[in-house]
């Protein structure tokens, strides 16, 4: 019944990825993935929220009465998001202004309360923490992939405005791949976000189907690869 640590990692990053498989939190995912820096910023904030909320929910799992557990989770998540919002306002003010309403809206990200209810409330603190971290990283990974895709297509850059996230030396991180006057505007607009998301999901399903097609060789490889990963982590 209880998943192993390997399974927690594998689920969060790939098999049960909140962005690509559960399709949770699509609103911030699609709205904020216009550039890579925005995506990283929101990804970090969401990951922190997931990690902290999973830990806290797991800590009180024996004390909260089942009748009132959902309001308790909401309060916990709201407090954490408020703290993160204040922290971002203090230290990453430029990014805070760009992300705007989507930082407070992390509260409503279904992935977070979903993990609290489905996982953290039934597992020990370390396992809940690992799950929160891996789900957050999986979500961040999708955000970054989508952000990179849309930024390259839309304005021909990578890591534009990196100074908002990394301070002054971030100015040097921006890559200009081609002149931005010919940017593919559609990629930056909402329909482009939906299309890019669809393509990412299709790519994931295609990769999965490739692994399923040749079980004899590839299963061993994935098994060894994922067994090795917890040690590395």
């Amino acid at each position: 019944m209880n998943p192993t640590l390997t399974e927690i990692i594998r689920d969060g990053l790939w098999h049960n990825n909140p962005g690509l498989v559960q399709l949770l939190g699509l609103c911030p995912l699609l709205a904020i993935s216009g550039t890579m820096v925005n995506a990283i910023g929101l990804g970090i904030a969401t990951t922190l929220t997931l990690l902290l909320s999973n830990v806290l929910v797991s800590l009180i799992r024996d004390h909260a009465r089942p009748e009132i557990r959902i309001p308790v989770y909401v309060l916990i998540i709201a407090s954490i998001v408020t703290a993160i919002e204040l922290a971002m306002n203090a230290w990453f003010h430029g990014l805070y202004l760009i992300l705007g309403i989507f930082i407070p809206l992390i509260v409503t990200n279904c992935a977070i309360i979903g993990r609290a209810e489905a996982f953290a409330s039934r597992n020990s603190v370390p396992r809940a923490a690992l799950d929160g971290l891996m789900m957050g990283l999986g979500f961040t990974g999708v955000l970054i992939a989508l952000g990179a895709l849309r930024e390259v297509l839309g304005q021909g850059t990578l890591m534009a405005n990196a100074h908002l996230l990394f301070g002054d030396w971030g100015h040097g991180m921006t890559l200009q791949l081609y002149p931005s006057e010919h940017g593919f505007l559609l990629a930056l607009l909402p329909p482009g976000a939906f299309m890019a998301m669809g393509l990412l999901i299709a790519a994931k399903n295609w990769i999965d189907s490739q692994f399923e097609a040749e079980p004899s060789t590839t299963d061993d490889e994935t098994a060894t690869a994922t067994e090795a990963s917890p040690d590395n982590a």
Partner: protein
């Protein structure tokens, strides 16, 4: 003596898909030549490029889907898609814009949905809207019709412009491009001038601009040929044109200074080619008689609404795509009575279907 029993269908359709598309292509020729007469070589170069790209993408994606390539290319639908796309974009559109638009039309709008017959949206219009939304600068460069422009580009110069995306030396875009009648009307009304002031401009002919009127006439000729050959039915084109003209006429009668005449609306931009060639796409349009009328009327009204109050000067592509979304519902709601049956349920006196 043996009598062989044939199973249905007993009546073989008069037209194959490839044959229908061939007729459509033939019907497009006069309008295309008229456009080339007024707007120069660019129209023809674009048609050739877009058709080549469309066929190449179609072949590639069909091969990738492991379907028979030659049989699919034989239905000629990719050629029609490329051709219509080329007529929609400005004649000096850079080659890479055409490439991106056609790629979207064939790969995303057509084959990701399952290929010809499964696409809910008109592929050529999807491709056009993608480039229209993405590259507003390139999509705004309509050259002045040759009869009015002082400079005109030869074939070589046109090719150079399209392939490199920049004009030959000693020419600039301001000298050879000009607002289309719809742009002029839109900007003029926005600047507070009246319709009669705008149309006193020598560029305007009887209804709209001379060149656009004649292009419309020649597409109308092609459309009538399609009607005559029964490739298309009258419902959609008539409904589209009335759908534009009736609301336009209503507002024009109320306030002829602020609203252009219905004739201007019908003979400007893409209404004629849209009514006969784009809205009648057999795959993405409604298929029942009443459904076709509602579908066409919806397109017409949307064209008028978006032109008058929307953000773009012309709206045929947007209107067609919006109504494509409604078409399956229209088909469902307007199913005709099956012969021998009542409107709902089984035939009279028979409990079984």
């Amino acid at each position: 003596m043996r009598f062989r029993t044939e199973s249905s269908p007993h009546m073989i359709p008069a037209h194959s898909v490839g044959g229908v598309m061939q007729q459509v292509l033939m019907a497009l020729v006069p309008g295309t030549l008229a456009m080339a007469w007024f707007f120069g070589w660019g129209v023809l170069v674009n048609v050739v490029l877009a058709v080549l790209f469309a066929v190449a993408f179609e072949a590639a994606i069909v091969a990738a889907r492991k379907r028979p390539v030659m049989a699919t290319l034989g239905d000629n639908s990719a050629i029609v898609t490329g051709w219509l796309f080329a007529l929609a974009v400005p004649p000096l559109t850079p080659i890479w814009v055409t490439l991106i638009g056609i790629a979207f039309a064939i790969i995303v709008a057509k084959h990701l949905y399952g290929g010809l017959g499964y696409n809910p949206f008109n592929p050529a219009m999807v491709g056009y809207v993608v480039v229209l939304v993405s590259f507003p600068r390139e999509m705004a460069l309509w050259p002045a019709p040759d009869t009015l422009s002082e400079m005109s580009l030869g074939l070589g110069q046109t090719l150079q412009t399209i392939l490199t995306g920049s004009l030959p030396a000693a020419m600039d875009w301001d000298a050879i491009t000009r607002a289309t009648p719809l742009d002029a009307m839109r900007e003029g009304l926005g600047a507070g001038r009246t319709v009669s002031e705008i149309t006193t401009n020598p560029l305007f002919g009887t209804f709209s601009e001379t060149s656009w009127e004649w292009i419309g006439n020649f597409f109308l000729l092609g459309g009538l040929y399609l009607l005559f050959r029964r490739i298309i039915h009258w419902h959609i084109p008539v409904a589209v044109i009335l759908g534009v003209a009736i609301p336009a006429g209503f507002f024009w009668i109320l306030d002829p200074d602020s609203f252009a005449s219905p004739a201007f609306h019908v003979f400007s931009g893409a209404v004629i080619i849209g009514a006969f060639f784009i809205a009648t796409d057999p795959v993405s349009a409604s298929t029942t008689p009443l459904g076709r009328i509602l579908y066409g009327a919806g397109i017409g009204v949307l064209i008028f609404v978006i032109r008058t109050w929307g953000g773009y000067p012309d709206a045929v592509a947007f209107a067609v795509l919006l109504m494509n979304m409604v078409a399956p519902t229209l088909d469902h709601l307007t199913r005709p009575r099956i012969f021998g049956r009542e409107r709902r349920g089984p035939p009279p006196g028979d409990g079984h279907g």
